[in-house]
Amino acid sequence: MLTTLRTIITDNWEHRRQIGFLAVMELRKAVHGTWLGWLWLVLKPIVYVAAFWFALEIGLRADRQTASSVPYIIWLGTGIFVWQYMSSMITSGSNVYKNYSYLVTKLRFPIAVIPSFHSLGKLLVFGLTQIILVIAMLVWNTGFTIYLLQWPLLVILLYFTFTVFSLMTAPLSALSRDFHNALTVLNTPIFWLSGIIFDVSRINIAWIKWVLRFNPVTFFAKAFRGCLGEGYWFWSDPLFFFPFLCTLLVMIILALWVQTRLKKEIPDVI
């Protein structure tokens, strides 16, 4: 597994320029042949936030069920924008070897680099949504705090976590459509159960609280809220940060194991 780790790091370093170029190509593909072009990349998350805001704040009055002092739409948008990135990595990030089969079976290209540029492409879209969020914060005059300084760290951690997730799941999806279908099916329950649209700190059932502490989706939704409105450092509460680190460590070990075991088989099965 150490050899695999070394290969993954070396391949990614040697292809760092191509990773940037391929990530931009990802976005170009997404807007090809569209009249509104790049606007489509942000329209979907915006419409998503607007629909949830209307249903939850106007319809269900859910804004009263968060402990946050920031406007509910900002609180909701922070969670949903980061969810959009995580969701796309759960569905398409876990299927990169099939989606980029031409790089796997027709060209000499290191397969450990494919999750990196796919993840970066999705992260660029996330970056655009963060600009929208900042504009919204200016409009609602929520103010910016020192906790905003942790934003670059959080983004790097987000990118790293879900690139590892892609390295871990994409070889298994290449082997089995059932595995990828299972992840796609789980995507919606993960959204509803992970605290994207509700405040997990208000849950009173102890074991559910513990389970959610190990959920990276819950971690990032909460951490970005701490950064952009609620005001806390993501590492300040060990009960919040260390369970996430445990999950990340398990994901890294599994990703290395899966890559070691299956990397030679992937071009033969796609």
Partner: protein, 255 residues
Amino acid sequence: MSSDISVIQTTASRSFVAVRFRDVTKTFRLYQSNKQRLRAAFSRRVAYKTVTAVNDLSFTINRGESVALIGRNGAGKTTALKIITGVTTPDSGLVEIHGRVSALLGLSAGFDSRLTGRENLQLRGRLWGLSSTEINEKMDAIVEFAELGSYIDQPIRTYSSGMRARLGFAFASSLDPDILILDEVLSVGDRSFHRKSLAKMKEILAKHNLTLLFVTHSFSSAKQFCERGIVIDAGTLLFDGPIEEAIAFYEEMTD
């Protein structure tokens, strides 16, 4: 399965040997179902059948040689070329590749169907290690050679297989590779493009001391610029010699 594998890949374009296979074997595992294949990722006890695509194959191709790989469908030609290209790894044996390899494997030619022809050329050029200036310098000549006109700015998914092959060949041959691999690519172009491609191949073969590996079922093309033929059947080398004799051997074998 043996773990006795060595793959030596260098960019030494002056080495006398371009490609060497010594006792190379490649097998594929066939599982009863996808479920079994997924289970096999976690357990070594899952049963599977083994298909040997390349069986104890040995040959040496020297720098500047043009070699046609001849054989029936499923004989192992494409697998051998994929091993040389580096997209698949052998189970055992020694593989040496000296020089940069440009390959056109199959009719899709390794393009992303959602990108335009121009974007694909930019992407492939970047992956080859060219700067955007170098790619732009080559662009006009490639587009002109591929006869794509304004189609170059349309997504590849709208191209016919002939158009893809033309673009793929125009690009692969423009890179000045040390080793050029063409797998069935020229079989889909029309006659005029076929003639043009053959002329281009002769030109680059003469100019750059290129090593060519060619898979085709068109023996007339093979005869025009390959001096050597290797006949493969069931992954095993049956004949290695002058192209005329290789074709005669194959025709006799398939009669």
